[in-house]
Assembly symmetry: C2
Homo-oligomer: 581 residues x 2
């Protein structure tokens, strides 16, 4: 037996017990006569005392222990004279009478502490050491807890956890697939799933009616910061449901997670049409922790000989409350911010509603006090507020203003880490036109149902067709999304046609699903949450990487494994492939 | 709302309620004035009544419903005059007042019933329909329940569910890897994990101390019947443990599953040395539901001028109790069985201990009554028993006798479907010599710890070195196995050397693990259960396939998806690979 207790377990009530602990040496302090060693495991930290007078050999041995040595210690629990109220084991210490070095350690390449001296690269390379740091370990444990509660809720609600295959069929629609050459079927390839979408729909056709799976998905996309080639999805589907049933079920799930994990009772989630979200926030995932809704100003600013506005398709203002006292420098910073190439605005116009009631704008040349007053009224400004105005092409200016709004939210401390504002965004467009491909693509995926009343516009006005699709955003982050699915073969065929599939292509790629629809498919729909992302949002952390035990870097490499790597000629030959570089 | 109740929910206490049900048409019976339709979902079957006189339109509409149509029905619950006690809803029926066809169905290619008329191939192709059959659906739901209880037990015991990567590094040791070309790292490949072995060991080095994961594993092996290229493992690891801790923890898990899923209280599991298992049963996973232990007879049969025995390395007999009355035909069948090429014995010798006390063997020429009496005594035969004897090279004859024993167990009905006999098999050999490769291989894997006292024989007598490795067998099926791991870099290096790795190879493939061992690795060990296999064994079913929602056939193909398949030239080009056929 390596231990009788963990390093986080002993309390004042255990005094006088003989115990055995095992763990890693966190610190060692030699006071001449006494040597104190803190040993650590994932449960906590316990102080061990070695007394030179009482046992010189043991003292000498203990004095040679370095950081991260793995030791087993036997001893007696005693009350500490110098208690540490911050540590749950801080009322006791162990008088050691035996020490066994289980494993020595070289000096680690960085300190194993929350405030580590290790940079990103070295910590990725030695991920197994980084995972020893308390704050990283906590995130992995947090993820475990969330997964556990997700399962508790879904199991209690009658969902079945059903595994779907990883070696599936490549389909060019959507993101790029990772593929797997088949040795047994020369010249042919499996694909790794981008999501279990078609399988969960087949499970509905099979009658399983409530399905979930916490499963890995794969997308071979060019990696942006904080995107991983493999990521985990909480994937769910229900049959005999309408959108309302799904929203209620999964709003319940998110509430359950917040309650059980964070002890937060969330009120019912507000809902917003996609069109309204874009109009009021320039985003399909608005952060509702703060206001600054968009104020469209075309009616009141056009026709005053200010060419910039007159030429603009859309002029939007947002009211930064109590910011009239922004300095020139602060305004310049905001202007620089919106002019950054990633944002691309040409300039920023402002209107100060000073505390003394006067109005001062950057376009005083073109607008008199009375006109500016109209701006202030339309933006519901009060004395002390600052109006910030952008203009341009409607779609672009909305995006730019969204960025400015979020930047202001950050600067003003309005995006609080301990506040959570979920929002359902509903009625997404079914299709989006991609200029460079010169065709319409499914915004969600080709299996999403158009709204019945919009089907007639599939060809006459594709942009107008709304989908029975919904996203859940929390604090400006999309944590999940889904849709009601098409379950009628004719409508599915029509959808593929609209997306430019020939009948033969549709049949080749998705024939199994369309065939399935011919044998009694129930109405169904579902959604999927990004598990990594959900964990990050619950902690108000932007990066998902620390919630993944062994993440890859931005080139899709695992630097710890040094993977991907070349493989043997023999392997290539067996797989009937060559590399071309 | 598509339904107020499921098709398995309504009882006599619901009489007079107005309800809405949705489901699949299972059967339709027209009695002229009344039409009965059973509708089905995964919860059950409910009888719906349409009355011609009361609503001729509705009756006519209902009369056109075919099997597997998806319908929504509204009506009133009434008590049935002709109750069906076999069906939980059999006391009631629904008088329909509204019918809505949600989805029509073509005639299914086979009947959706337990006793289906569909062959294997057609059911694989239409797997989504096969999954509608009660007995298939039950298996998928059973699997869900087992998974749930595995998690309940492990979570309650402080294990953390931690996900490990799927895109990892190819290592030639072990089975063949599936590989994934990396587009972003041209000419390089990821591999899919054969198991999360090295990752779970790293997690122990990181201090997570109790880990589990129910995860997919991949092996590109030539498929035998009932082997799948992807399969699911319940993968577990613990730190600061000895073998005894692991056996107890996972014996507890299996007991928990039997108790919660099957309401069976299993007694403590017996344990057997690998050597004893081979000697007494010729198998490392003996089926303990019945006896017929091997009786080694060399001492009493050699030296009597029977050349077959004199030349044999090992002579084994098993006592088939009460089988002395086997007919000539039965004995011939057994002889044919052992002479099949898959088994390869040259013949079968028997000794009848007749009810009248006489002895009759097939080698009476060589052995007199007194000598045969010794056989009977050594095999603990009583009157009415039958001794069956095989001989040859020790290893081969043990395997042959194992097959014969199992065959007899089947024939005699001794392998009862409702009896469960778990067994820990301990102290497996560390190494096995593979003739065709002319070298020693790790029997379990290269990370398995040799027994301390046997390390000295690594080079002098490799076959003698036992491992701290253990398997759990239930009813003759290996459901799990594991080992205490090496956690010392020097010993791990020694092991790689013994397996024929150069230092450079070991470093290239497993450097990350050996490096990790230099920074304070705790003693650790673990095991993995085959989840598909465990589910099958719990149901006393041999095939794992029906416990997998979407299995592949013996060529690794998914015939429903028609996968694997060729991929676009564009995809190949992006991946920098060519096919060579």
């Amino acid at each position: 037996m390596y231990r009788s207790h963990t390093c986080g377990e002993l309390r004042i009530t255990d005094v006088n017990k003989n115990v055995t602990l095992s763990g890693w040496v966190q610190t060692s302090r030699n006071f001449g006569e006494l040597l104190f060693i803190d040993i650590r495991d994932r449960y906590g930290l316990t102080q061990i005392v070695f007394n030179k007078t009482e046992n010189i050999d043991l003292f000498t041995q203990a004095n040679q222990l370095g950081r991260e040595f793995v030791v087993q210690i036997k001893g007696k629990v005693v009350e500490r004279s110098n208690k540490n109220p911050k540590n749950p084991t801080g009322e006791i210490e162990i008088i050691a009478n035996d020490l066994n070095v289980l494993s020595a350690s070289k000096l680690p390449p960085f300190t194993i502490e929350n405030n580590t001296d290790g940079g990103d690269d070295i910590r990725m390379q030695y991920r197994y050491l980084d995972l020893r740091r308390g704050e990283v370990q906590e995130k992995i444990i947090f993820r475990h807890k969330v997964g556990h509660e997700v399962r508790n809720y879904l199991n209690a609600n009658g969902f079945l956890d059903i595994e779907t295959p990883f070696l599936i069929k490549s389909t060019p629609e959507g993101a790029r697939d990772f593929v797997v050459p088949s040795r047994m079927n020369p010249g042919q390839f499996y694909a790794l799933p981008q999501s279990p979408q078609t399988f969960k729909q087949l499970l509905m056709v099979s009658g399983f009616d409530k399905y979930y799976q916490i499963t890995r998905c794969f997308r071979d996309e060019d990696l942006r910061a904080d995107r991983q080639p493999e990521f985990t999805q909480i994937d769910c589907e229900m049959a005999f449901v309408e959108q309302e049933d799904i929203l209620n079920m999964f709003e319940g799930l998110i509430k359950h997670i917040f309650k059980t994990i964070k002890n937060i009772d969330l009120p019912d989630f507000p809902r917003m049409q996609y069109d309204d979200a874009m109009r009021l926030y320039g985003s399909d995932k608005p952060d509702l922790r703060f206001g600054m809704q968009f104020n469209e100003m075309n009616d009141i600013v056009k026709g005053k000989d200010f060419k910039v506005f007159d030429d603009a398709e859309l002029i939007i203002g947002i009211n930064a409350e109590n910011c009239a006292n922004f300095t020139r420098k602060q305004l310049d910073e905001l202007t620089d911010f919106v002019k950054r190439p990633q944002i691309g605005a040409t300039g920023l116009i402002y209107l100060r509603y000073n505390e003394d009631g006067t109005l001062k704008s950057s376009v005083d040349k073109f607008y008199n006090e009375e006109e500016l007053k109209k701006w202030a009224v339309s933006a519901k400004m009060k004395e002390g507020d600052l109006l910030l105005v952008l203009c341009g092409k409607a779609e672009k200016v909305r995006k730019q203003m969204n960025e400015l709004r979020l930047e202001l939210g950050n600067k003003l401390g309005l995006r609080k880490a301990d506040e959570f504002k979920p929002l359902w965004v509903l009625d997404f467009p079914l299709l989006e036109y991609i200029e460079e491909d010169n065709r319409w693509f499914a915004m969600h995926h080709p299996f999403t149902s158009p709204k019945k009343e919009d089907i007639e516009f599939l060809y006459t006005d594709p942009a107008r067709v709304r989908a029975d699709a919904y996203d859940l955003a929390i604090n400006g982050v999309e944590v999940g999304g889904g849709s009601i699915r098409i379950f009628d073969k004719q409508l599915q065929a029509k959808m593929f046609e609209r997306l430019g599939f020939s009948d033969a292509e549709a049949q080749k790629q998705f024939g199994f699903l369309m065939n399935a629809f011919e044998y009694g498919a129930p109405p169904h729909g579902g959604l999927a949450f990004g598990f990594d992302r959900l964990c990050a949002v619950l902690n108000s952390i932007e990066s998902i990487r620390d919630f993944i035990a062994f993440p890859k870097n931005n080139s899709g490499r695992d630097v710890m494994l040094d993977s991907p790597s070349t493989i043997d000629e023999k392997q290539l030959k067996e797989l009937n492939i060559n590399t071309t570089i």
